[in-house]
């Protein structure tokens, strides 16, 4: 048992590429920022290619229109006609998370010494996105309804004695939203990547470990193919859930209940 230990957490380390310091703050250009910029470049390339407004749309334009139409549908069904002005935010959120998630699955590690970095596997990124959604909900809610916004904590038609019990519960469930929103995305990404790394290490140690190990290696290989397909699904679902929950919270703020 002298083989090199495979560390499943190494893929999440943030490494400085261009060190930058301003006062006590470290604002280095890291691999996290690099992969965010790659995601941004891909989104721009994808969108601009399809925004030529041809009368007879080509394949690319149909793909872009399908994506915008999908988010537009989601916003219109869940918020109503007033949701139109939040469409750009929801769309940016959905596309950024989806692209960052999918980039994390990109098999760059076949080049020795390189590995891709999943930006959405860090709570600092997903947490900021969640706090942004939450602040927009708060700002919109207070701007539209003023102090009546607090009636969110007492559902319509609650008997007065029950209101004292329900209001604190609703308040807690409201305040926990940014955490649950950010936590869900980041943990789902981390869990999937650790799973893939652990079974990848089973393949390596299995094939080094004699005839019985080959069986383990082959089984792990089959399993990891299945897990990769599942991860593609999870990437899409997590992006969708993040955008969907943001629209639902916005709906609460705009229409109360």
């Amino acid at each position: 048992m002298a083989e090199a230990k495979i560390d499943p957490m190494h893929q999440f380390t943030v490494e400085r590429i261009v060190p930058l310091h301003i006062g006590p703050y470290d604002i280095s250009f890291t691999n996290s920022s690099l992969w965010l910029f790659i995601a941004l470049a891909l989104i721009f390339a994808f969108m601009l290619q399809g925004m030529k407004r041809q009368l007879v749309p080509g394949r690319w334009q149909v793909a872009v229109e399908g994506l915008t139409g999908f988010v537009d549908d989601m916003v219109r069904v869940n918020i109503g006609p007033e949701g139109k002005k939040f469409m750009p935010y929801i769309f940016s959120l959905f596309v950024l998370i989806l692209t960052a998630n999918l980039l994390g699955l990109f098999p760059l590690a076949i080049i020795p010494g390189q590995h891709q970095f999943t930006t959405t596997s860090h709570f600092s990124i997903t947490g900021v996105l969640a706090v942004m959604s939450f602040s927009i909900v708060l700002i919109v809610g207070f701007a539209r309804h003023g102090l009546k916004f607090f009636s969110l904590f007492v559902p319509h038609g609650t008997p007065l004695p029950m209101a004292f019990l329900i209001a604190p519960i609703e308040f807690i469930s409201f305040m926990v939203r940014p955490f649950s929103l950010g936590l869900r995305l980041f943990v789902a990404m981390i869990a999937g990547h650790i799973l893939m790394e652990v079974f990848g290490s089973f393949i390596v140690t299995g094939f080094n470990g004699g005839p019985l190990g080959w069986g383990v290696g082959v089984l792990s290989m089959l399993f990891i193919i299945f897990v990769t397909a599942l991860e593609l699904l999870v990437c899409a679902i997590q992006a969708y859930v993040f955008a969907l929950l943001t629209t639902l919270y916005l709906n609460d703020a705009i229409n109360l209940h």
């Binding site: 957490m9 989601m74 069904v77 869940n78 649950s180 936590l183 869900r184 943990v187 789902a188 981390i190 869990a191 679902i237 969708y240 859930v241 969907l244 929950l245 639902l248």
Partner: protein, 78 residues
């Protein structure tokens, strides 16, 4: 029993919660499919609610996973 083995056992116990969340997620999709086959016309309109239920059930499993990771990778104190 030394602390590092207790850590591993604790992480394993925390992982039971992930299995419980699997039951929950299966329940969400199973019930959806069952009723979607009874009334396919209404199924498309309920997809938003399906994913809300899925997200709620999944979150609890992911919290169990986070707890397991915290226990497993926590610096052994004392």
């Amino acid at each position: 029993m030394d602390l590092s083995s207790a850590q591993v056992i604790g992480a394993g116990l925390a992982a039971i919660g992930v299995g419980a969340a699997a039951i929950g997620v299966g329940n969400v999709f199973g019930s959806f499919l069952e009723s979607a086959l009874r009334n396919p016309a209404a199924a498309d309109g309920q997809q938003g609610r399906l994913f809300i239920g899925f997200a709620a059930a999944e979150l609890l499993g992911l919290i169990a996973f986070a707890v397991a990771m915290i226990i497993l990778y926590a610096p052994p104190s004392a």
